[in-house]
Every structure is written in C-alpha cells, then in structure tokens.
C-alpha cells in the first residue's frame, strides 16, 4: 500500500479532508468518482495520488451512481463526491441504488445555504435533502469537522455493511465562505 500521507502541519480539526481520506481508506474504498467542488479539492487530490484507488472525473453526477453500482457488482466499495447542485442531476439514476439495494455513499458539499454569494445555488440547495429523501436515500448531515468525520465513518458502515444508500451533507458553514 502506497497511500499519500497527510501533511502533519495541517492536521487537526481544520484538516477534515485528510481525516475523511483516512476513514474511507480504512473502510476499503477502492473507487472514487467526482464532479469537482472547491470543498472537495483536497480529498480529490489525496485519492488521485493513491494508486490503490481508481478515480473517475464525471461529466455529470448521475454517472457516479452507475459507476458505484458497477463497482459493487465487481466486489469493490466506492465513494462519490459532488456539490449540492449535482444532487438534482442524480435523481432518476438513484432508482438503481434504491431498487437494487446497492451500497452507496455520497459526500455532498452544500452550497446556497450559508454566506452564499451566488443566488443560483439557492434553489437546488433547498431541494437537496427533500429530493434525496424522496427517492429513498438516508440523509446525514454534519456542521463541524469533528462531527463530519464521525458521520462519514458511520455512514460508510451503514452503506457497505448494511446495504444502505447514504448521502452525507457537508454544511457550507463548515466549508467556509467561497473566496472571490
């Protein structure tokens, strides 16, 4: 195993991306797919540098739902990263995870809910949790770095060991205000 090591200077409660990487590696995640978000950039870098994890950049988030199902059919655990605007793109494809009871772990960085500069992010932000719940996902949410790491650890167990479909929403307050 040749996993990139987190920078010791940045560890601590601010370094939740490295902690998430550690938790997901401990859960034996072997595939990661994503549509980028600034809030996910460090986690994307860590996975992309890891030769034991296959990463896929997507053109639209729903592709990642299908890839996750395929990975599971082939015996691998996976994780899908996106921002809240991407949740709307996923809804019909989530039928696959729901009706096939495929383990699914999505980490969703929230936009449009806390010190948001761009009003176009607000409608999908409002629709994120209700639409995920309407299609049958369990939604978990974290507002602090400490809570987030524990939530993702618990969500990973629920997904991979109990065949659940889970979205973890990462509050915009935790990610911080976007710099313009």
């Amino acid at each position: 195993m040749h996993s990139p090591q987190p920078n010791p200077d940045t560890r601590g409660s601010d370094d939740w991306p490295s902690e998430l990487y550690r938790v997901l590696k401990a859960a034996d995640v072997r595939q990661m797919s994503y549509v980028p978000d600034a809030g996910h950039s460090q986690l994307i870098r860590l996975f992309s540098a890891d030769p034991d994890v296959t990463t896929s950049v997507l053109t639209t988030e729903e592709e990642g739902i299908a890839i996750a199902a395929g990975a599971w059919l082939g015996g691998q655990r996976s994780v899908l990263l996106m921002q809240s605007s991407g949740v709307g793109n996923c809804i019909n494809m989530l039928s696959l995870s729901a009706i096939g009871r495929f383990p699914l772990l999505m980490l969703v960085t929230m936009r449009g809910e806390w010190a948001e500069f761009n009003p176009w992010q607000v409608p999908m932000s409002r629709a994120t949790q209700p639409s995920l719940e309407a299609i049958g996902l369990k939604v978990m949410r974290a507002e602090t770095a400490e809570d987030l790491v524990e939530t993702v650890e618990s969500a990973a167990s629920l997904a991979y060991e109990s065949d659940q479909q889970i979205a973890v929403l990462i509050g915009q307050r935790l990610i911080g205000k976007k710099k313009w």
Partner: protein
C-alpha cells in the same frame, strides 16, 4: 445531416451471434430491448439486466471493469439509452479501461415507447463521438457476417475502451423478460464472482 439507410438486420440474430462464444465475459444490458435481447440468448448468472436507470449501462460497465480488470465486460445497450448517457462516453474515454466494450444495438428509434425516431437516424454518429473521446476502436456494422467478425474481435485484448454500433431493423420482437428483481439479479451476479450476499 443525412438520414442513415435503414438496416434489415434482425436484432435477436445479431445479439445471438455477438454472444455465441462469449466465454466468461460479463454483460450489462440497457433497459428495453437490449435487456430482452440478452435474456433471449439465455438467462445467466453473469448477466446484469437493467429495467431503468437510463443512460447508466455503459457506466455500470465502467465501475465493473475497474473492479474486475482481469475480466472482459460488455455493455449491451440501445441508441436511446446511450444517447441519454452521452457524457459517459467522455468519462469512459478518460478512464480508459482496457476491458470494456460498448455495443449499441441501434434501431434508430425509441422502440419501447412507440418507435419515435431517435438522433442516430438523423445523422448523429455515436462512433464518431467515441473516437473524439479517445476510444481505441469503433465500428458500424450492418450484416450478420460483420457481427460474427466483431464477436471474434472483442474477444481479443484491447488497449482501451471500444464502441461498436450494430444497425438493426426497427421492430419489436416478442419480449423475453428476465427477473425485474434487481436485488436478486445483483446477488446472483456477485455470487458468480465469488462474493457472498450481505
């Protein structure tokens, strides 16, 4: 864009020829006719049939190909299903799996909903899109002999993903229906690969 000449190839005969010597190739079928076509060749544990998730067949194939690099994976789908997943062709081109082939059974229509004409009958060429996305081999086939040659070709190793379009007659043969229970089909497929149900 010009209209393509309609093909007279029978889709069931084409899929039967394509899969006759499939060996241990794992097959994912797109919703509608490709799922019925696959089932009509014989129900098998290493088939994963979609009844929904339109646009997802080739991408399920990608996740599977990445998890099972020593196995060949075939995503067998239709023109309408692949058109809904056009972006996925770019994603698969970038991911560059060496063990994934996409075969589109192209009747140039949305056969399940009343045979409305699709984009592929109006000049849109999925193989040209695949070439532009970095696929390592593509082709458009119109005869049973072409399909028999393709079956031999896709059994060979590849350097990257390949996409082939088989132009078929626009008709709906009698449906051949696999189980619609996705949990059953999933667990059966995984058991075939040696993974126990949870």
């Amino acid at each position: 864009m010009s209209m393509s000449v309609p093909s007279q190839l029978d889709r069931r005969a084409a899929v039967a020829a394509l899969l006759k010597n499939r060996g241990d190739t794992l097959v994912v079928s797109g919703l509608g006719s490709p799922t019925y076509d696959l089932h009509a060749t014989g129900d098998r544990d290493d088939n994963f049939y979609l009844w929904g998730a339109m646009g997802g067949a080739a991408l399920i194939g990608l996740g599977l190909a990445q998890a099972q690099p020593s196995k060949r994976i075939l995503a067998l789908t239709g023109d309408g299903e692949q058109l809904m997943g056009l972006g996925g062709i770019a994603t698969i081109g970038v991911a560059r799996p060496r063990n994934l082939d996409i075969v589109v059974i192209d009747n140039q229509h949305f056969g399940e909903t009343g045979m409305q004409a699709s984009h592929t009958g109006r000049g849109v060429d999925l193989t040209a899109i695949a070439v532009a996305c970095g696929f390592t081999a593509t082709g458009t086939l119109r005869t049973l002999e072409d399909v028999q040659r393709l079956a031999a070709q896709i059994a060979e190793r590849a350097d990257g993903p390949r996409l082939f379009v088989i132009k078929v007659l626009a008709e709906n043969p009698p449906r051949s229906l696999p189980s619609r229970d996705a949990v059953f089909i999933k667990n059966r497929f995984r058991a075939h690969l040696g993974f126990a149900a949870a």
